[in-house]
Symmetry: C2
Subunit: 334 residues, 2 copies
DNA sequence: AGACGCATGCAAATGGATTTGTGAATGCAT
DNA sequence: ATGCATTCACAAATCCATTTGCATGCGTCT
């Protein structure tokens, strides 16, 4: 592998000049610049990024912390973030905090600490509602954008309008004439889960539909709990029997639909289903689910924009909080 | 951020000694070691990884090249590979070669070239059957493991037994008494797609079931082509009408099932469906699909093992080629 | 007592690129 | 022709950690 010295020798100039050709082209006269460029091309030279980092203090690395890349919601985010970062010449390091068998409560914090040793230029932290993580974020001296609901405004953040999306679904079900509905939410630890649930219930209230806490099933955001929720729904009979169910995310909906199928429950004939969240793969799920949400990629793209604004000094005010609106899309399921 | 010099000053020793405490602990006497360690802890020091890389020539970075992380097959691989790499203290850089709108034929090659500038310690290259990529691999001086079928044995490689898996499905359908079947394959460029198809057809042949090229639908490995395949199947009537279909991967199966649903075609009543591939999310797809395959995570884990063997000199013979066997899992769809 | 070996700690060289400060050369105006 | 302002190129310092080779001191063996 060739170094800047070899290029300099070959071109008959000093290392400084070679560096200028690469980084401040206009400081070098055209003929000389071309001579140096020729040497660079002949040797197939490219600057050693580690040496460059050492000198400049920038690594061109962004770390992205998410719970689980196997969750399509986060996969979409990663994909979009990577594409956006790559355009800016930055590489992404992805960290799954929810390591199988690991204790995820402490994991996020450990990761945050580990990360400070890696000297990344910026951080994208996905919502995972860890206790103590917000204080930890305050301590960081790395530009950070939090994706999700951040109670203390320690750093920039961007989230989907969970409440609004839940509201849209509630309103839709009300207009469809449903009188008795249930919902399957994510875990209480997740702000997003509670906001979706609250929005949904607010819409019911505004439409004069009775709803009690008993009609809430507290899930985990994962498929098995969707399945369990479906089993719970099967136990409801008489006046308690719902004509529609609102599911808090995609993965639980998959579990729920599978269980309904196995039990011979037909959607929407026997029960209507609407969910929060919009993902590309929903295009091929049948029955096609009525849903409110936004592609997570939009979220990630905005997060990257905010991060880049910080990195290149385009913005340096106090932490910003942004909200991405939801859209309601109606299909056969409800 | 504190440096090794500050630690040395604080502990009243030379930089060398601090370095030894960190990297060759036994070369430093216990009392001194403890004194230095105390200084390290007080200052919260950790070595600058860039400086370390510059000196040692190792970056602790592994690059992973895959077509599209949105494809669950590759998501699983990434997840497993990252977990395995992390255990070894290595970070993974993920590159999606199939950038939207990009020309993927040339992209893979460009990426490979780009990567040589990043100075990663190792490479995991996912199957994407690009022309010219195998020659490019030969030129690399970076330890590499290719995941998929590699015609020239330029580097280590590991793949799933595509042929065997296809064979299992063909045999199963034959035993179920199907006399006329069709199959939906991946693109010709993918060795894996052709191997699955060939295995399938070989099994039919061995079971004396007639099969002609007309019964092959050449898909793209993506959902829309599964949908189109379903439409094609709907046009087959009379003697051409199949009682079963073999689909080459998960994504095309999703498209096919959606189209069947929309057309009112019932699985397995009207037509049986079996696929190649096993992914966690199939657990929640209904009807539950009969399938032959292996979780891509196993593939990735083995690939990482092979790569680590190269990196720490545990193995340095000629390139190895390994094959991971498939298993047949029978469910309601066929 | 002298020679030798071992454990221990340090100074200095090394890796590769960027950047500051300086001197030389050129152009323009007087 | 002289003085001043630019432009251009370079030497050397810097970023931080690792590692080689050397110096010191202590104990052991002959």
């Amino acid at each position: 592998m060739s170094t800047i010295s070899k290029v300099a020798e070959r071109a008959g100039v000093s290392r400084t000049t070679v560096s200028h050709v690469i980084n401040h082209a206009n400081r070098v006269s055209k003929p000389l610049r071309e001579k140096v460029q020729a040497a660079i091309d002949e040797l197939g030279y490219s600057p050693n990024p580690q040496a460059k980092s050492l000198r400049t203090g920038r690594t061109n690395l962004i770390a992205m912390l998410i719970p689980d890349i196997g969750n399509p919601f986060y996969t979409e985010m990663v994909k979009a973030a990577q594409a956006a970062l790559e355009e800016a010449g930055l590489d992404a390091l992805i960290y799954n905090t929810d390591v199988p068998g690991g204790n995820w409560q402490t994991h996020g914090r450990d990761y945050l600490r580990q990360l400070s040793r890696k000297r990344v230029d910026g951080l994208l932290v996905g919502d995972f509602a860890l206790h103590g993580i917000t204080e930890e974020l305050l301590k960081l001296d790395t530009p950070t954008v939090f994706i999700g609901h951040l109670a203390n405004q320690a750093v920039d953040s961007v989230k989907i309008d969970d409440f609004g999306g839940g509201y849209m679904v509630g309103e839709h079900l009300a207009r469809q004439g449903h009188k008795h509905v249930v919902q399957v939410t994510g875990p209480e630890l997740f702000e997003s889960a509670m906001a979706r649930a609250d929005g949904f219930e607010q819409a019911l209230k505004d439409n004069k539909i009775r709803f009690s806490r008993k009609q809430r099933y507290l899930g985990s955001y994962l498929p098995p709990s969707g399945r369990e929720a479906a089993q719970w729904i099967a136990t409801l009979s008489g006046d308690d029997r719902p004509s529609a169910v609102f599911v808090g995310n995609y993965l639980m909906a998959m579990g729920l639909l599978a269980e309904f199928h196995d039990q011979g429950v037909r959607v929407p004939k026997d029960i209507a289903v609407a969910i929060f969240g919009d993902l590309p793969q929903l295009e091929y799920v049948r029955p096609n689910l009525t849903r409110a949400g936004e592609n997570p990629g939009a979220l990630a793209r905005r997060a990257v924009e905010m991060l880049l604004d910080r990195l290149n000094g385009k913005f340096d005010g106090p932490p910003r909080t942004e909200v991405i609106p939801c859209a309601l899309r109606i299909f056969e399921s409800a």
